[in-house]
């Protein structure tokens, strides 16, 4: 029996980080811990490896690379990398998966469809590197039908040959023809709103707050920074909304059935400045954020999606959770020092309050 290369999310945990990539491992961990995560499965780095080695992909890539000469540290050569990337992606995407793999992926997909009670459920195929390279590889949304799922898994693999990944490997002197990653295939949430939350105030590191950003439609709009999201700062203990900024959100990232593509769609003027989250959703998100943080034991950066067709609170899904990268790493040093109440009182009594009055 060959080595296992495909997993249901519920089979995974953070310990599978190197096998399926961070994103899949974390989603698995969340699923196992009982959080509401869209159903899905993951292809491990082994799947990538098999595809590369059991088909003629590697040979053809190596063949092509024989004649490729460019200096990754020379900006003038960027175009050369760009052309090479296009060529290599063309090669990768033109080759079929080994038959048994294709069948297994399709079987998994049809399980997802069965669970969702629909014939052809929409899924997202997301890249998951063992080391986090946010935004380096690609993700494809609203993939539908088993052939399309297989095709898009290959497209995610092929994104390891996008220009910046190739340049990055060239700079590090790594082989250009091989960079194994995991792939997550997740049921799409028909998001009416989505966004990101931090379990710490990203501005000052205050861990008693959850900062929530949200925009209409799919979360990519917020993650990519393409729209200005609504922002909320919520107290973890009192659940009071301390700050609330409703922005002009301009456009939403949504599926266009006509083109079958995800597109930015201009919001009608009356909707642009509406709050995209309800108060109860804000409270629920805050509660979820607290639980995720306590599960992982450090401040988290969480992506969520709110389904437009499901009833609250089942409508809220987590699609990503990872350690918050700025405050989470700071060593917690004492801010007060070891002081008695009396010392603090004495300090207060002897320190005048400054007023800025000029």
């Amino acid at each position: 029996m060959a080595e296992k290369w495909i997993y249901w999310l519920r089979e995974l945990g953070t310990e599978h980080n190197d096998i399926v990539g961070k994103k899949c491992a974390n989603l698995g961990e969340l699923t196992k811990a009982g959080f509401h995560v869209p159903p899905g499965f993951a292809l491990s780095v082994k799947a990538y490896d098999r595809f590369m080695k059991e088909t003629e992909v590697t040979d053809r890539l190596l063949q092509f690379l024989k004649t490729f000469k460019a200096d990754a540290n020379n900006v003038a050569d960027t175009m050369k990398f760009e052309e090479a990337s296009q060529e290599m992606r063309k090669i990768v995407e033109s080759i079929r998966m080994p038959a048994d793999m294709e069948e297994t992926v399709k079987n998994h997909y049809s399980e997802l469809c069965k669970a969702a009670g629909r014939e052809n459920v929409f899924v997202a195929t997301r890249s998951a590197g063992p080391v986090s390279h946010p935004g380096q590889y690609e993700t494809y949304l609203n993939v539908c039908g088993s052939d399309d799922v297989v095709r898009n898994v290959i497209r995610v693999w092929s994104s390891t040959f996008n220009t910046r990944s190739v340049i990055a490997r060239a700079r590090l002197g790594l082989p250009l023809n091989y960079d194994p990653i995991g792939v997550a295939v997740l049921t799409m949430v028909d998001a009416k709103a989505a966004g990101v939350m931090f379990t710490v105030n990203p501005v000052n590191g205050d861990e008693s707050k959850v900062a929530i950003e949200a925009s209409f439609g799919f979360g990519e709009a917020v993650v990519s920074g393409n729209v200005t999201p609504d922002r909320y700062l919520v107290d973890k203990i009192t659940y009071e909304i301390d700050e609330k900024v409703i922005s002009d959100k301009g456009a939403e990232f949504a599926y266009n059935p006509a083109t079958k593509e995800m597109e930015y769609k201009e919001l009608p003027p009356e909707k642009r400045k509406l709050a995209c989250l309800e108060e109860r959703e804000i409270t629920e998100l805050t509660k979820i954020a607290k639980k995720v943080e306590s599960h992982f034991g450090c401040p988290q950066d969480i992506e969520y999606s709110i389904s437009g067709s499901m009833a609250f609170p089942e409508s809220i899904f987590l699609v990503q959770a990872r350690p918050e990268s700025v405050w989470g790493k700071k060593k917690k040093e004492s801010v007060l020092g070891k002081k008695t109440g009396w010392q603090l009182l004495f300090e207060k009594a002897t320190t005048p309050v400054k007023l800025k009055t000029s």
Binding site: D206, T238, V335, K338, G341, L345, A349, K354
Partner: protein, 619 residues
């Protein structure tokens, strides 16, 4: 040196009150006015209107509380507990309104001396607070009892009665008793105000220390959350309302009592009807038993004689009783749950505490919290005993002086006594006593006093129409005085607001900003209460708009959606009660009662301190 190019308010020595107020100065003692002889010192200070204690023009006799707190508050800071860089708060009256200034810091060597005394004296208080509080309450109740026992003879008699002459001569007449009694009551009120500040400065200081500590750990923590952490559930100020709840439950099931209390007739008639039935008389006995002290509650802040108390305006507690009984009949719960309040407080503290990462910090936080909790209850407890209980007794007694002066035509109406300051009232009394002693056919200067009273009344009316300037002089660059920061909320922002606020036409405002005193959002029709008597008009679900809400209004809070006030900071008497009831409140908006009209649909956000007029009633 003050920066002369900086934003500033007019020099108090150049500033003139409007001419309709002409003659206002003579109502107040000279030491309470700005003067050329102290000009240099006065110019160095920043004077802002004290809207907490004197939001309305000051009647000369009501000014006595202000004088008393100036001495007491300042003395405790400078000479008793010796808060090192802080000095007292000084007062001046301008156009019948009171302006106050934190006194500039003392010389460095004095700060040094004070630090030593502070270090010696203050820890003792914190270590022994619970014992000290028991002692305090005993002593304070004695002051009130002494005040209540003061004799104010209402009839001087044509001749002294026999029993004052023989067999054991009393030795002095009732006319003399009047003179002496007034001196006694003045002494007692000043002493009571000394006790008022016995632990208050330290309670405020501890609170500010805890705010600092919490802010260092949680930069974004709301002051309203800190308020919840330190608030006591079982404090004297809530007892009057608890007694009303108890009396309401007592009435339930006693048919006649329940029905009579529900009637829409004056309280006086209800009392008469209750007298007529057995059940009614039993209920009345219980009422009598709790009246002192728990009905000695001002209908306002306790600072103005015309506010009245539950004792003089029985309609107020009786309207609460009516609404409680109606709610009990519907099966509602009327009492605050003390356990819920304290459990919620403990949960908040514990959860924040858990977020603290360093062991040292957690220990310091615990210690800071225990320190503030030890003493903060004084800030809540003293309020009932001084401003409510004792002031109610004071006003009852002063009314009696007013009555006797009126009976002998020194005054035209009893309440005219409040138009004379505490140094002048003895003149009126002496005038009466002298005329009585001189014998038949002698005259007092009643006509002179009454004309003076009439003129002063006019000045005060004009003053209440004047919108006084928020501040005078140059804003300071730093403040050490704990009350200035905590009670009056003087911060960089407030000074800035005052500076620009002076020229805004309030009628055009659709959004007001105040302190986020109690979290939550409420939207609904506004009810502007200018006088507490308007309380009967209040409909369930309305948002209360008042100059200042007051703990004595507590029962109202079970019926409204939220509260907005003109005056008061986060720990003002108003904010405390709103938090206790879990009602959204915005305090210290400055202008809510003049901008918002009854019936306007407003939205208030007690977490951000913003009040929005959604729809005008007549728009």
């Amino acid at each position: 040196m003050a920066n002369t190019s900086a934003a500033r308010f007019p020099d108090p020595h150049d500033f003139k009150a409007p001419k309709e107020l002409e003659g206002w100065e003579e109502m107040y003692p000279p030491q309470r006015l700005f003067s050329q002889d102290r000009a240099e010192w006065e110019k160095r200070h920043f004077w802002y209107q004290d809207k907490i204690h004197a939001p309305e023009p000051l009647y000369p006799l009501d000014d006595i509380f202000q004088e008393a707190w100036q001495i007491a508050l300042s003395g405790y800071t400078t000479r008793v507990f010796c808060i090192p860089p802080a000095q007292g708060i000084t007062q001046r009256i301008v156009g019948c309104y009171m302006y106050i200034a934190p006194v500039e810091p003392p010389p460095p060597e004095v700060i040094q001396e004070k630090a030593e005394l502070f270090g010696k004296r203050v820890p003792y208080v914190f270590q022994n607070y619970s014992k000290l509080w028991e002692e305090w309450l005993k002593v304070f109740k004695k002051v009130g009892e002494e005040m209540e026992a003061i004799k104010v003879p209402q009839d001087l008699g044509k001749y002294v009665p026999d029993d004052q002459v023989m067999p054991i001569p009393r030795g002095y007449t009732d006319a003399h008793q009047l003179i002496e009694s007034f001196n006694t009551i003045v002494n007692l009120i000043f002493r009571a105000w000394q006790y008022h500040f016995q632990y208050l400065n330290l309670a405020y200081l501890a609170y500010l220390m805890f705010v600092d500590t919490a802010r260092k750990l949680f930069p974004g923590i709301k002051e309203s959350t800190i308020g919840k952490m330190v608030a006591g559930a079982d404090v004297s100020m809530f007892r009057p309302e608890e007694e009303l709840c108890r009396l309401s439950r007592l009435a339930m099931g006693q048919r006649p009592v329940q029905e009579i209390l529900k009637k829409s007739i004056p309280a006086a008639d209800k009392l008469k009807e209750l007298e007529k039935t057995d059940a009614g008389r039993i209920w009345l006995e219980e009422l009598e038993r709790v009246k002192n002290p728990w009905f000695y509650v001002s209908c306002g802040s306790g600072w103005y004689h015309y506010e009245g108390s539950w004792m003089t305006k029985m309609d107020v507690p009786f309207s609460y009783l009516k609404s409680y009984i109606e709610r009990l009949e519907k099966g509602d719960k009327i009492e605050r749950s003390l356990t819920e309040i304290s459990e919620e407080r403990d949960r908040i503290v514990e959860e924040y505490r858990k977020l603290i990462k360093s062991d040292d910090d957690r220990k310091s936080f615990d210690d800071a919290y225990n320190t503030v909790r030890t003493i903060y209850v004084f800030a809540e407890d003293h309020l009932f005993w001084v401003e409510h209980w004792l002031h109610t007794i004071w006003f009852q007694k002063i009314d009696e002086f007013g009555k006797v002066l009126t009976k002998y035509n020194v005054l035209a109406k009893p309440e005219e006594i409040y138009l004379f300051n505490r140094f002048e009232v003895p003149m009126l009394i002496e005038d009466l006593a002298t005329a009585w002693a001189l014998g038949e056919g002698t005259q007092t200067r009643g006509k002179y006093w009454q004309e003076k009273a009439a003129k002063r009344k006019k000045i005060l009316e004009a003053a209440s129409k004047w919108n006084p300037i928020p501040a005078l002089g140059v804003p300071p660059t730093e403040i050490s005085e704990p009350f200035t920061i905590m009670l009056w909320g003087v911060t960089t922002d407030t000074v800035g607001e005052w500076l620009k606020g002076a020229d805004v036409d309030t009628k055009d405002l659709n959004e007001l900003k105040g302190f986020a005193s109690s979290a939550g959002i409420a939207e609904g029709p506004a009810r502007v209460l200018n006088m507490l008597e308007d309380i009967v008009k209040l409909q369930p679900g309305e948002i209360l708009i008042a100059k200042c809400t007051n703990p004595s209004w507590a029962p109202v809070f079970t019926n409204i959606k939220g509260a907005v006030t003109d005056i008061g900071g986060l720990t003002s008497h108003a904010a405390i009660v709103s938090r206790e009831y879990g009602l959204p409140a915005v305090t210290g908006t400055g202008v809510a009662t003049s901008v918002i009209k009854t019936g306007d649909i407003i939205r208030l956000d007690g977490s951000t301190g913003v009040v929005t007029i959604v729809k005008r009633a007549n728009a």
